[in-house]
Subunit: 337 residues, 2 copies
C-alpha cells in the first residue's frame, strides 16, 4: 500500500498549486496566497481540505462558481463591525481577508467582527484560527454550508453542518478547535470509506432514517448525525441564522437551491488578547489548564488525552521533514489540472 | 400524583422569593431583581434553574459563598471590551449587569464584550440571551463550571460542562439556545431519576468508566457524556480557557479545588442587530429559515421539529395562565427558607 503514497515536499506542492491556479485565471499574488493555504492545510495533516480537495476547488473555478480575480468589497462599517460582500471570490482568500480585518478591528477596539456574504467554501476553517492566533488574537468564527444534516426528529437534510472555529494563541503556536456540527466531517467519512472501516459511533442516517456507522451510506444519503443529537442540530440552526443575519447573506436553505455549494455566509470575530494581560501570564494560565487536563486518569493505559490542535503540531513537524503524504492517484490528478 | 404538584401564581412566587432574599441579607432592589430572574425561569419552564434551585441558592448565600450585597466592579476597559470583577456577588445579578454592559458597548460600537471573573453560578444561561435579545442584540455567552465531565479517553472529570448561550431577537421574542457541553444537564438527569426513567441516549459514565443511560448513576459519578463525544469535550476545554483568559479569572481546575462551585469566569458578547438592517428584514430572514426548518420530513408522523426557545414560549403562556407547577415538597421547603 505504501507505494501508493507519495511524499511531496511542501515547496514543490506550493509551486504546483500556484502554477495551476495561475493557469486557471488567478492573478499571481492571489495564486500564491491561495496555494499557500492549501499547502499549509496539507502540511498540518488536514488533507481533506488541502491537497485532496484541490481538484474540486479548481473544478469550481473552471465552472465559474469561484471567481479567481474577484475581490471582497466593504458593504457597511459601524464601529467594530464590518459587513463585506465576497463577490464569489475564492473562499480561502476572502476568509483570510476577513480575518485580517477582524484582527485590525480588534487591535483598535479590543474586539472586532467581520461578516462576509456571498463567499465560497473557506476549506479548512482552522486556517483562520491559526491566522488570528498568530496575530495575538482569540478567534471565534463560523460558516454556513449546503444542507447536509437533518433537524432532530426529521429525515431530510435541511441544516448545514456549519463548522465553528475557536482559537487561542499559545506560546508561539495556538490551541485551535475546528468542528463541524456533524459528528464526522465528510472528509473523515471519505477516509473511513476508503479504508473500509466502520465509524466509532453513529455518524448519520441511512435512506430509511435509521442511525448507521457505515460511512459510505452516509456519504450517499448526505444525512449526517448532529453532534450531541438534538443539541448540535439546534446549534447548527443558530449558526446559520447568525451567519445570514450578520452578513446580510444567504442562509443554508437558500444556498441549497443551487446544485453546488457557493454563495456562503461567514462570521469572523477576533479579540486582542495582548490588551488583556501579559503574554507570559496568558501562557501560564493555558499551561496550567493543559497540565491538569493531561493528568486525566485514562480509560486505557497507552491511550492519550489530546487537546484541539495538538495533533496538528505533531503532523506539521513530520510532514515538514518527510514531505506531505499524498495518495498517488490524487497527486497524479493534481498535476494534470 | 397531580395532587403533589401545586400551581403557584407568578406574582406569589416573586413575592415569596423576594422576601426570603431580603431576609437573607439582599438589599430590597437586588432581592427583587434576583427573585424576578428565578421566577421568570420558572415561568419559562426551566424549573431546574428556577424554583427547584432556589433552596440551594439560598443555602449558598447562608454559607457565605454568594455575597448578597456585593457589587461587581470594573477592572479594565479597552474599547469595546470590559473586564469586571464579580466580587462573589449573586451570579444572576452579576450576569445581568454584564449583559447590560455588553449591550451598552454594542450600542456604541456594534459589538461589545464583557468578561466577568470571580462570580457565581448564573443559574439559567438563557436569561441573559433573552435579556440581550429584548435589547435588540444578538448574544453569545458562556460560563465555566466545576469539573463534571471527563476529557475524551479519560475516566475522571476534569472539564466543566460549560454552558454556551446563543440568542437572536425575533419578532417580539427571541430564538435562544442554551446548551451545556454535557449531553444532559444535571437538572434534566435529576428529573429523569425522579421519574425513574432511563435517558434516551448515553448521558455519562458509571464508576468503571462505561457509558450508561442511568441518570442516578451519572449524578453519583458526576461524569457526564460530552455532546458529540470528543467534540464537546474539546469545545468545553476551549470555553473554559477563553472564560479564564478573557476575564482574568479562575479556570475549572482551579474552581474545582473548592468543595462547592463558586468564583466562576464568564463571557458576554452582544452585537447590535439594529445596526445591520431593518427589523422587518431581519424577522423575514429568520422566518424563512424557520419555515424551511419546520417543513422537514418527520421521522414519525405526529412528532414535531422544534427550534431552540420554541418550547419556552408555549410553557410561558401556559404557566402565566395556570400558575407555575411546583412539586409540593419543593414549595414547602421554599416557604420555610
Amino acid at each position: 500500500m505504501d507505494s501508493d503514497v507519495l511524499h511531496i515536499p511542501a515547496q514543490e506542492m506550493l509551486n504546483v498549486f500556484t502554477s495551476i491556479l495561475v493557469k486557471h485565471g488567478f492573478p499571481v499574488e492571489k495564486a500564491l496566497q491561495c496555494a499557500t493555504i492549501f499547502t499549509d492545510s496539507s502540511i498540518d495533516g488536514i488533507y481533506s481540505h488541502g491537497v485532496n480537495r484541490f481538484p474540486t476547488f479548481v473544478d469550481y473555478v473552471a465552472k465559474g462558481h469561484v471567481l479567481p480575480a474577484a475581490e471582497p468589497s466593504l458593504k457597511n462599517a459601524m464601529g467594530s463591525i464590518e459587513q463585506w460582500e465576497g463577490n464569489l471570490g475564492p473562499g480561502p482568500l476572502n476568509a483570510m481577508m476577513a480575518t485580517h480585518r477582524a484582527i485590525g478591528l480588534a487591535r483598535s477596539s479590543g474586539i472586532g467582527c467581520v461578516a462576509l456574504s456571498n463567499t465560497n467554501h473557506w476549506m479548512r476553517g482552522g486556517s483562520y484560527g491559526w491566522q488570528a492566533a498568530r496575530g495575538g488574537c482569540v478567534f471565534i468564527g463560523f460558516t454556513n454550508t449546503i444542507a447536509n444534516m437533518p433537524a432532530w426528529g426529521a429525515k431530510d437534510a435541511r441544516l448545514g453542518n456549519n463548522p465553528l472555529v475557536l482559537a487561542i494563541p499559545y506560546q508561539d503556536e495556538a490551541i485551535v478547535l475546528d468542528m463541524a456540527m456533524s459528528q464526522y466531517s465528510f472528509g473523515a467519512m471519505e477516509l473511513a470509506r476508503l479504508k473500509n472501516t466502520m465509524l466509532e459511533v453513529d455518524g448519520g442516517f441511512d435512506a430509511n432514517g435509521n442511525p448507521t456507522r457505515d460511512p459510505g451510506v452516509i456519504i450517499d444519503t448526505r444525512r449526517t448525525m448532529p453532534v450531541g443529537f438534538w443539541k448540535g442540530a439546534g446549534l447548527a440552526l443558530l449558526l446559520d441564522m447568525l451567519a445570514a443575519l450578520l452578513s446580510g447573506g444567504l442562509s443554508t436553505h437558500e444556498i441549497n437551491k443551487n446544485a453546488v455549494e457557493y454563495g456562503l455566509s461567514q462570521v469572523f470575530i477576533a479579540i486582542d488578547l495582548s490588551r488583556l494581560g501579559d503574554s507570559s501570564i496568558i501562557n501560564k494560565t493555558i499551561e496550567s489548564i493543559l497540565d491538569d487536563y493531561k493528568s486525566s486518569v485514562l480509560v486505557e493505559s497507552g491511550r492519550k488525552v489530546i487537546y484541539p490542535g495538538q495533533r496538528v503540531l505533531e503532523t506539521r513537524k513530520a510532514n515538514t521533514i518527510k514531505g506531505i503524504p499524498v495518495q498517488r492517484r490524487i497527486w497524479e490528478r493534481v498535476v494534470m489540472l
